[in-house]
């Protein structure tokens, strides 16, 4: 997933321009009364809606995710039925577009459960696992990364060896074995996925800290006599936010896929818990007779992951002024050339 950052070395005439223009832009922005807030925050608040308007995919993604999130969070109030409400006599009711009833918009599954309700509860669990894993793995990884990056030396070497070793573990296989041992439950899923996922945060955090430590302004802070803690928290850590947010978002997508995969392999959650992966697994049995039971959760998972990816690329743009500039230029010039072409 990781996309390399655009190179900044080798300044060209165009870069020279954007650098200068940016300077001037910022000057103007602050004259307009935007001063006083950290740059990225400002970029975020200023750019979110503008960027969203420009980025149709991002906008759609945001809308879709909002709907999913609302459906998931308020499932107990919004869902027409419980996740395991129903019995075989109500099984396999067709969805509304195939002549079903409004009582079961997406129909029912082989068990007689309402598919829409299960989708909402399933998304609720899946998203919860995603958030929990991102939070736990993120906290753990970032903490270790900070320690490694800032302490350096032997601590760094040992921590990073640990990371290296664990990164080389065959993740899915280990996850399967661990879940088999711990028993499939929400807690063990969260634990296992966190166990397998913290390294990327540690590496990134360490990388950012190391890079930030080399920034002249960090040296400048140390030069004027800032204590290490202040250097860390005031001068180094704020560099982390944008990459951390983007990483967390992408990791969230990855976790959703991982949860679905584990559930699909039968090592996910157990009745009466339902997640999107559990639904996909449930649909597996009747894949040929009622393909919708597998396709609906499959498509929803795909869409969520897709939307999260779009969101991440939009975030990258929001956080990275250079990227914003590039996007804008691409759009504007195509527009400009079209207009010109029409004129001639």
């Amino acid at each position: 997933m990781s996309e390399a950052n655009p190179r900044r070395a080798g300044a060209t005439a165009t870069d020279e321009f954007s650098a200068r223009q940016q300077e001037v832009d910022e000057a103007r922005a602050s004259e307009e009364g935007q001063e006083g807030r950290p740059y990225e925050l400002r970029a975020a608040t200023q750019g979110i809606f503008g960027e969203l308007r420009a980025d149709k995919a991002g906008l759609l993604a945001a809308i879709f995710l909002t709907i999913v999130l609302i459906g998931a969070v308020f499932a107990p109030w919004l869902a027409p039925q419980g996740p395991v409400e129903g019995n075989p006599s109500t099984a396999s009711i067709d969805p509304i577009w195939a002549g079903g009833t409004w009582a079961h918009v997406l129909g029912t599954d082989a068990q007689g459960y309402d598919v829409l309700s299960r989708l909402m509860y399933g998304a609720r669990t899946t998203l919860l696992i995603g958030f929990a894993v991102v939070l736990i793995a993120g906290l753990f990884g970032v903490t270790l990364g900070l320690i490694a990056g800032y302490r350096g030396g032997r601590t760094d070497r040992w921590l990073m060896r640990w990371v290296d070793v664990q990164v080389a573990f065959p993740g899915l296989l280990i996850a399967l074995i661990m879940i088999a041992v711990l028993g499939p439950s929400k807690t063990s899923l969260i634990f296992v996925l966190s166990f397998n996922g913290w390294m990327v945060y540690a590496r990134m955090t360490r990388g950012v800290v190391l890079a930030a430590k080399e920034r002249p302004y960090v040296e400048a802070a140390e030069m004027v006599g800032c204590r290490p803690r202040r250097v860390m928290f005031v001068h180094i850590l704020p560099n982390l936010t944008s990459s951390l947010v983007t990483l967390a978002v992408l990791e969230f997508a990855r976790i959703i896929l991982a949860e679905a995969t584990l559930s699909f392999l039968g090592l996910g959650l157990q009745f009466p818990e339902v997640s999107l992966g559990v639904m996909a697994n449930g649909g597996r049995d009747s894949f040929f007779s009622l393909p919708r039971l597998a396709i609906i959760p499959g498509v929803v998972i795909t869409l969520i992951v897709l939307a999260v990816n779009f969101l991440a690329s939009w975030l990258r743009v929001v956080f990275d002024p250079q990227e914003r500039e590039k996007r804008f230029a691409a759009g504007a010039t195509t527009a400009a050339t079209t207009v010109e072409g029409a004129a001639t």
Binding site: P170, L172, F288, T302
Partner: protein, 305 residues
């Protein structure tokens, strides 16, 4: 080079040790496998005998010690599920199928993602680029099992195209494609962004100023440089495939490979088999990691090993 290799091998040994230790400890937490091995009618004496035969009555440390000692001699004990067949033999029987699948998938990924990424990078923001990017994102966003199921449904059932499972090489196409698609999505994105970076770089500008043909700039200069980040990510994809996603694909297509075997071993609590599988997979991961670095050295003369 020597220092590098010895370092990497040392690290590899730590990795393998770490993985096997973890799996050893974890599997010992599952519970007594003797009940799984013996018929339920077996007497307590028979159970005890088997337990001491397999060493489960000893302390976990001493078990681990003898496990390691035997592992060094490539003796991982016998599979309990496969009727006392040597666990390594069992793994080696299933391994070729997985390697076949992974190799086919990764070759597909390589052959498709590089040109697609390069084409997308030619006009970033253009229509073709947007199309390819969206396609790639969909590819990497789709759960592999779902992809596999849909492919299965469409190819084998709806259109009766090609079969799968054991048989001629054509059976490999769709499982391999399923394995490859998410990788193709990710690698296309990587190739694309690396190519965009390279095409914006100073040396490309300089090459254009020299009058080097556009085809050569893209196909030779930018591509070779873009290969540098690509190599790492491609290596990761190979690892991902071998150590994880073949599991899913094999489950969906009933491909008789290591992944299928792993799920079976876990389900049947075949400890020795689980350990052997993990050990072999860990070795492959370590070797691939070293291969990545060597490949790195090949594409980038600046890298010193």
């Amino acid at each position: 080079m020597g220092r590098y290799l010895s370092q990497r091998l040392g690290q590899g040994i730590v990795v393998i040790l770490g993985v096997t230790t973890l799996v050893f400890v974890v599997t010992r937490m599952i519970g007594d496998p003797v009940n799984f091995i013996l018929p339920l009618s077996a007497s307590e004496e028979q159970r005890a005998a088997l337990r001491s035969d397999l060493g489960f009555d000893r302390s976990i440390l001493s078990q681990f010690g003898s496990f390691l000692r035997d592992a060094v001699r490539l003796d991982f004990g016998n599979s309990t599920y496969f009727r006392n067949e040597d666990a390594l033999d069992v793994v080696m029987r299933f391994l070729p199928k997985t390697l076949q699948l992974a190799a086919a998938g990764m070759v597909m990924a390589l052959l498709l993602s590089v040109p697609l990424g390069a084409i997308a990078a030619l006009r970033p923001g253009g229509l073709l680029d947007k199309f390819l990017v969206t396609l790639s994102l969909i590819g990497l966003a789709t759960p592999q099992f779902f992809l596999g199921q849909v492919i299965l449904l469409l190819t084998s059932v709806k259109f009766n195209l090609v079969q799968f499972g054991d048989g001629p090489w054509t059976h490999l196409i769709f499982p391999a494609l399923t394995l490859a698609l998410p990788a193709i999505g990710r690698l296309t994105m990587v190739t694309r962004s690396a190519m965009i970076d390279e095409l914006n770089s100073q040396y490309v500008k300089a090459a254009r100023a020299k009058g080097v043909a556009a085809r050569r700039i893209v196909g030779v200069h930018a591509l070779r440089n873009a290969a540098i980040p690509f190599v790492t990510l491609f290596g990761w994809e190979v690892i991902r495939a071998l150590a994880g996603y073949t599991l899913v694909v094999e489950a969906v297509f009933d491909w008789p490979g290591l992944g299928d075997l792993a799920i079976l071993a876990i389900r049947e609590r075949d400890f020795f088999l689980i350990q052997t599988i993990v050990f072999i997979v860990a070795i492959m991961v370590v070797l691939i990691n070293i291969a990545i670095d060597v490949a790195y050295k090949i594409v980038d003369p600046r890298v010193k090993l």
